[in-house]
């Protein structure tokens, strides 16, 4: 077996040195009747070529985003990732290292985490950011738990513009821990009265912008009302690239900001791994979940970085920890940091404008299709269509014509009574031809 260096001779020599006769003498604590004697019913070992054939065949049964006109978003986005990113994250020293528990030989990881935290804080307009969560949805769940700790209250209010998967994650967690959640109904036109839902029992309000329908939301008034009642505003986003062009939550009074960072540096990967971003006001830092990287000096006074404030964490605090998270999204943070560094603010802003321009062009083109209404007013790179037919069926029909046209809202929230709504995203990867193909296909499907 190509991954196992020991030879049969090595094994016998080693057993002798240990002082046992057979390998199973080392498994003596396993109850004898539970020790397997036959190999399990799975195929034998395979060479690289055979594995490539098997997995290649499976991969070939999927439609890759780059092979079709592609407009699917709703929480994960198709962007172009520079070649440098994938090269660097495959360097052995990054790929095959562990969480930086030994900082003297992990300064590479620690320095990029410090850069990552700084980038995320700048993007969101917040004071501090952690070294990542699993993804945007689990970051949202953790943010609600953190708000409960800060406010010592246990009721969260969720906007109807929050991605239904994010709401589901918060609801599951809250149900299990016995906390209360008030989820407002789906709010495609961003006209819900969330202010009315905030009261003196409210721990936090969770509002997404751009929301799942694409609407940009002004959070200022929500922050004011929340703060007046002693509650926190948690701002969420699923498209981090929007922050290149759109007012950051930190400038609108958010106390905690969570979001999905996949769009910068990370591929679609059928849903994961992604990278959860988590930022907060300085005064809440000791209530934050997850790893934090901090600056310090070494014995010679040279600057260096370490994991810090770990008395919040499970390995020290155990059942009193702020979170149970251990492994996070390290390498995805690195991908994010490299891509963000290549872009710089100039590149990010330009790329964000390209996204926005493409989405505006697409919205205008689709609005010409008879029966189609674009219901989103202010948006970044994603908007919602109201269709004269069931959106799920339309998406299937579009796929048959080779266009991946978006996500029917009913797929995310089947009971929301929004069967005619289609979420459509457009990024820098879309061309004029893609748009023309979409318009033509949609015309045919709706005819």
């Amino acid at each position: 077996m190509r991954y196992l260096p020991l030879s049969p001779d090595d094994r016998s020599e080693m057993l002798a040195k240990i002082g046992v006769d057979t390998i199973d003498d080392l498994f003596a604590d396993v109850p004898a009747e539970k020790l397997l004697t036959e190999p399990l019913d799975l195929p034998r070992r395979k060479g690289e070529m055979e594995v490539e054939r098997i997995l290649g065949r499976m991969a070939g049964r999927n439609v890759a985003a780059s092979t079709v006109p592609f407009f699917v978003g709703a929480g994960a986005y198709k962007h172009h990732v520079p070649a440098t990113v994938d090269h660097v994250i495959q360097r052995s020293e990054f790929l095959t290292s562990y969480t930086p528990y030994q900082p003297e030989i992990a300064q590479g990881t620690l320095q990029y985490l410090f850069e990552f935290q700084t980038q995320v804080a700048a993007l969101t307009g917040m004071d501090v950011a952690n070294a990542s969560m699993y993804d945007g949805s689990t970051a949202a769940g953790e943010a609600v738990l953190m708000a409960h700790r800060v406010t010592k209250r246990r009721k969260a209010v969720l906007s109807g513009g929050l991605h239904p998967h994010y709401a589901d994650v918060v609801e599951t967690l809250s149900h299990m821990s016995g906390d209360k959640v008030v989820s407002l109904p789906a709010d495609p036109r961003a006209d819900e009265d969330i202010l009315a839902a905030i009261d003196d029992e409210t721990s936090c309000v969770v509002v997404q912008t751009p929301d799942v329908f694409g609407n940009l939301r002004d959070l200022t008034k929500i922050a004011e009302k929340a703060h007046a009642h002693g509650a926190l505003l948690i701002a969420a986003f699923t498209e981090v690239m929007s922050l290149g062009l759109v007012k950051p939550p930190g400038a609108m009074g958010a106390d905690i900001v969570v979001g999905e960072g996949q769009s910068i540096g990370n591929s679609l990967n059928f849903g994961g791994p992604y990278v959860g971003l988590f930022a907060a006001r300085q005064k809440f830092v000791r209530q934050m979940p997850g790893r934090l990287c901090g600056e310090t000096v070494d014995a010679e006074g040279k600057r260096g970085f370490v994991l810090t404030l770990s008395t919040r964490e499970q390995h020290i605090r155990r059942d009193k920890a702020t979170s149970n998270i251990c492994t996070n999204s390290g390498l995805c943070c690195l991908a994010f940091t490299i891509h963000m560094t290549l872009l710089g603010q100039v590149g990010l802003q330009r790329l964000a404008r390209v996204n926005h321009a493409n989405a505006v062009a697409l919205a205008d083109a689709l609005a010409t299709v008879p029966g189609v209404e674009v219901i989103t007013g202010a948006f970044f790179n994603e908007f919602t269509l109201k269709l004269p037919k069931d959106a799920a069926k339309v998406v299937e029909a579009l796929a048959d014509k080779g266009v991946l046209g978006g996500v029917p809202y009913s797929r995310l929230a089947p009971d929301a009574d929004c069967d005619d709504l289609l979420l459509v995203a457009s990024t820098e990867v879309n061309t004029d031809d893609d748009r023309a193909a979409y318009v033509a296909a949609l015309k045919e499907v709706l005819a």
């Binding site: 094994r11 070992r45 900082p103 059928f270």
Partner: protein, 523 residues
């Protein structure tokens, strides 16, 4: 030898010693590297895009104003920055990485290649299921492997790492208890004191009270100790097997039975599954739920702290409560159940957006296909053999807290052998860095004083182990000889000397800020 060029062929006595500083602060291949916020420029970008042609923005009045505060680097500068950073890191490919409990085994690059096939990497989680049949097939196949290897009934793939798997498993247990109407009474979870911190943290996260089970003098948990704590309030135990001392729990079957008799559940922390793949099945031992860290046992890279993946295998009793989403056969191929209301069972909800860590599923399946049934069993045996070989090589010199007896895939030492040397476990670990090794896990598990947990994995050759044992013996003897400075000042040869963690925590600096705020971000 005749040397006509005047070029010295040996170091010579006039050579600059290692201690001599350089003008730049660099040391040959080891380069000092500024933060991007110091070397980058606000007007630079390393990505070429044209400005979009004139269009009217539709951002309402929510346009961002002013600088964001993010400098950029050109591509060559960025490449050099990150490559230099990488050179300050130790990875498995650098050398032996015996970090106990973390299973730092070889990360085959075939798995990286497979995960990057466009049919896996460039596929969106919400594409129509008809366009992702291969992805669902892969998830289905991975599930079959995991269920077969563990002898369990089903698997929830979506947890994002081990701790998330713990959360998933404990939520399934809570849902099962609630379904029986016992939610109000069964509020306590038993956790051995040797458990990983994520176990008590997980239980507490969803409102369970944690009761600590003492470890026996041999490092394992006695069924009697569990029985003493079991009551009508017991929801479950969270037991690691093989445990964090590197030992197989000899009374595991009886412990499972005791819990089941009391109407409680057995959550097994499967972080150490690598010791027993193909040798024993958790399902045969009475386990109800167990997470598997794909980034340990099935070699998906740790990537400096993630991403991981923590599927949870479930017993018949818990299978109905598995969270959404999951893959089932449909009318036209495979399909995904994404919502509770469409399931025939009783899913407890959703724990993450989308369907989990597909990129990790591909790598893990690639590992499993490569090894096959025979190779996985061999890998476990070699992992256990290697750990015992190290234990045998160090016995007599370093103390084993529970006596000289076989371990599973990791060998545990304590610090009693360092008594009166002035050298601590931490010092010893830092001296290992100078010798070119990543230190073992230190001060965990908590039940052993000054713990040193050594897990070589099956990826090490005999000669690599021999070198490691020799280095450890040299160090141990030096410590006993009283060469204290070799340890207390270590590391001497790493990119940084010992770092001041107290200072970092006392005045936390968690982001870069300009010395003088040159350009204040407008917001």
């Amino acid at each position: 030898m005749l040397n006509r060029q005047g070029r010295p062929t040996s170091a010579g006595d006039g050579a600059i010693t290692a201690d001599t500083g350089t003008f730049t602060g660099n040391r040959a291949l080891m380069q000092e590297e500024a933060l991007i916020f110091e070397s980058g420029r606000y007007e630079t970008t390393g990505v070429d895009f044209d400005e979009p042609e004139n269009f009217s923005p539709r951002l309402g009045d929510l346009e961002r104003e002013g600088d964001i505060g993010l400098p950029g680097l050109s591509e060559p500068e960025a490449m050099r920055h990150f490559v230099r950073l990488s050179q300050k890191n130790y990875g498995i490919d650098t050398g032996l990485f015996p970090l106990g409990s973390c299973t730092m085994k070889h990360n085959a690059r075939l798995n990286e290649r497979m995960a990057r096939l466009p049919g896996f990497a460039d596929v969106h989680p919400l594409q129509p299921v008809s366009s992702v049949q291969g992805a669902l097939e892969l998830m289905d196949e991975l599930s079959r492997y995991l269920v077969t290897l563990t002898g369990m009934t089903s698997v929830a793939l979506s947890p994002k790492a081990g701790a998330h798997g713990e959360l998933c498993g404990m939520m399934a247990i809570k849902a099962a208890i609630d379904a029986k109407g016992e939610g109000e009474t069964r509020r306590t979870v038993l956790v051995p004191e040797s458990a990983h911190g994520t176990n008590p943290a997980t239980a507490a996260l969803i409102g369970f009270k944690v009761k600590t089970v003492p470890a026996d003098t041999d490092g394992t948990v006695r069924v009697q100790a569990v029985k003493d704590l079991i009551g009508p309030d017991t929801a479950a135990i969270m037991l690691t097997n093989p445990n964090t001392c590197g030992l197989f729990e000899p009374e595991i079957v009886e412990i499972a039975q005791a819990l089941h008799d009391a109407g409680a559940y057995f959550y097994c922390d499967g972080a150490n599954f690598n010791a027993i793949v193909g040798k024993a099945r958790p399902g045969d031992l009475g386990v109800d739920a167990m997470h598997i860290n794909l980034h340990k046992t099935f070699s998906t890279p740790h990537g400096g702290g993630g991403p991981g993946s923590g599927p949870v295998v479930l017993s018949q009793r818990l299978a109905p409560y598995a969270p959404v989403p999951f893959v089932i056969p449909g009318a036209e191929g495979l399909t995904l159940v994404e919502h509770e209301q469409y399931a025939e069972e009783k899913p407890f909800g959703r724990i993450t957006a989308f369907h989990g860590q597909m990129g990790m599923y591909v790598r893990a399946l690639s590992y499993m296909l490569s090894h096959g049934s025979d190779g996985m069993k061999q890998a476990s045996e070699d992992a256990v053999l290697n750990a015992n070989y190290i234990r045998a090589g160090l016995r007599g010199l370093m103390s084993q807290p529970f006596g000289d007896k076989p371990c599973m895939h990791e060998a545990l030492f304590d610090d009693s052998w360092l008594k009166d040397t002035g050298v601590s476990t931490l010092d010893f670990a830092k001296a290992m860095i100078d010798e070119g090794y990543h230190p073992m896990t230190m001060y965990f598990p908590l039940v052993v004083h000054g713990a040193m947990l050594v897990e070589p994995t099956e990826s090490e050759s005999k000669s690599s182990l021999d070198l490691f044992v020799a280095a450890m013996r040299d160090l141990a003897q030096a410590a006993k000889r009283g060469e204290t400075e070799r340890f207390t000042g270590a590391p001497y040869h790493a990119p940084r000397k010992r770092l001041d963690e107290t200072r970092a925590a006392r005045q936390p600096i968690l982001r870069w800020t300009p010395r003088e705020p040159v350009r204040e971000a407008a917001e």
